[in-house]
Symmetry: C2
Subunit: 234 residues, 2 copies
């Protein structure tokens, strides 16, 4: 039973709050039974597993947890990365909000067969916020890393740039699979040169008098839903 | 120029962090130029407007801001509430996450003509997190408050319960307008008695091997998109 906050395991968990440290170690912290179970169900073996009251004093586990009081279990797992691919996948460019990245990982797990491909300047999908927003999908369908040139090199892929306006409606776009749905940052969208090199563009039509755009996670989810529907799966 | 943190205006802003206080006063705090502009564009007149370096010392404004350092302006406005209605609107029951409520307010502003109707146990749409997630749509299209009995009393309304499974696919549902899309809490969904009394049910079909559900804000957005598309608007 761990009874000191200076225990090396607890120190290791605290260090993993830092993104550079997570990257260097290639590790991820899963807090709570739901996320730990999701990791194990996906075949991840814990490098470290601490159960409150069994391996560690509950208040010490609470103190290293991002969730705070009442955390019953924390697991540390080795990160895994997918290769890009699938008939339907997502490419993100500059999506910096970890909640958005995690939510898109969850949506792609439900609505696509390929991974979320993280391009430049995206949030770390293994951060506590992203892992939580993914509801464990980050374990079941780990993201991939690639820049846009690598995405363009997918054999026969349709690269579909989602843009806020001045493009055909999503439902009118002919997108032969494999399709890679490409989305950019919340503030500035996809860089012009990425849009330029995509094979198709689409917009989600909104009320002219309403909100000017959707959040990037909503746009990604609607695009995946619509491409699924058009392919006859929904 | 305000130069003391004990200034009554600053104290009033600090008190408005508390939900009960916001409700009692009927006020909302908008932080940053984008949200203050959104409120004014929607015809809200500020009860109080503090510009850093002009009305108040910048570090004192930062100190009362939830955004933290670099806040240039904070406005306090009187809350407004819509009446339920419209050809397409949303009813939420037990959606407690302010980010989800704000995101759904933004989606409905873009994809529906009616407001988001907040039933029991929903997050305060005027909380800083919800206002920020709405990207100002909470001012342009203020939410409504009503319980499910009031929603059922809308003349001729189709109440469409979104459920995670065991219901027709969204695209196969015939929903005569006016349509009220009904969604429940992230963990437990809609209460059984609400589902029972809805006139239609629908699910968003997901990969059988993938994520078990979408986040409630994603489900709301997909439903609004699909109902728009079926009505010939997208």
């Amino acid at each position: 039973m761990i009874t000191s906050k200076d225990n090396p395991h607890l120190k290791a968990i605290r260090r993993l709050r830092d993104k550079r440290h997570r990257e260097r170690e290639g590790l991820v912290v899963a807090e709570g039974e739901d996320l730990v179970d999701a990791a194990r169900d996906a075949g991840f073996e814990p490098e470290l597993l601490l159960v409150a009251g069994q391996d560690v004093e509950p208040q010490l586990l609470d103190a290293v947890s991002e969730l705070g009081s009442g955390t019953r279990v924390i697991g540390v797992f080795r990160q895994r990365w997918s290769s890009p691919g699938g008939r339907l996948s997502v490419y993100l460019h500059g999506v910096r909000d970890p909640g958005n990245v995690g939510t898109i990982v969850r949506a792609a797990h439900g609505l696509a067969d390929g991974p979320v491909v993280l391009g430049p300047d995206c949030a770390d999908p293994w951060s506590p916020k992203a892992v939580r927003a993914s509801m464990g999908s980050v374990f079941a369908r780990p993201p991939a890393r690639a820049d846009f040139d690598e995405v363009l090199a997918f054999p026969g892929a349709t690269t579909l740039a989602m843009v806020p306006r001045d493009a055909p409606a999503l439902a009118d776009v002919e997108a032969e699979p494999p399709v890679v749905v490409c989305l950019g940052s919340e503030r500035t969208g996809l860089p012009a040169d990425v849009i330029e090199r995509c094979s198709r563009r689409a917009s989600i039509l909104l009320n002219p008098s309403g909100a000017e755009s959707l959040n990037v996670a909503m746009a990604a989810t609607v695009a995946l839903y619509e491409l699924n529907r058009m392919a006859g799966h929904a």
